[in-house]
Symmetry: C2
Subunit: 99 residues, 2 copies
């Protein structure tokens, strides 16, 4: 069964779009690491919250991706723009459309 | 820009898998209604929470889909198994992988 995560992060005021750009910059490289799906969205009801939904081949593939140099660089680049408020939910993907 | 939703619902104890089956039963029909992505997952940390992430052609396509007879039937079938606790987040999809 594939592994999913649904995460949110709040950015500092005015930095949301820069964080989104960083999150999207390495997106295509994720496929090779076992990522089936990676959706970056901005909250419709505020100007600082970014939501990221992911589906991975396995929990292990996701964990390994966090150690990739490009992931580490993206995290380092985004971190100063984040407000320090996060939510995180792991899910077991059961099926659907496009997955 | 495509429209996304990230929703969760808690089911009554022991009813989660039936709710998941209902949510998946009409999944393929959603494509024709403008659904790009529909991911049904179960929380990894409890036995009652179901997460549904969706990406739609537009907010209007999503709203129209809620009026389809099959959607109404699915909602009616699932409702008695739900605990009445929901979360809902609308997002503006910015991009990613598989979307």
């Amino acid at each position: 069964m594939t592994y999913g995560t649904i995460n949110s992060m709040k950015t500092k005021p005015g930095r949301r779009d820069e964080v989104v750009a960083i999150l999207l910059s390495g997106a295509e490289g994720l496929r090779a690491a076992g990522c089936h799906l990676y959706v970056v969205g901005t909250a419709a009801d505020d100007d600082v919250t970014v939501w990221v939904s992911e589906v991975w081949e396995s929990r292990e593939h996701h964990a390994a991706s966090l150690q990739l140099p490009e992931t580490q660089e993206a995290i380092s680049a985004a971190m100063p723009m984040l407000a320090g408020e996060f939510t995180s939910q792991e899910v077991r993907v059961q099926g659907g459309v496009g997955v």
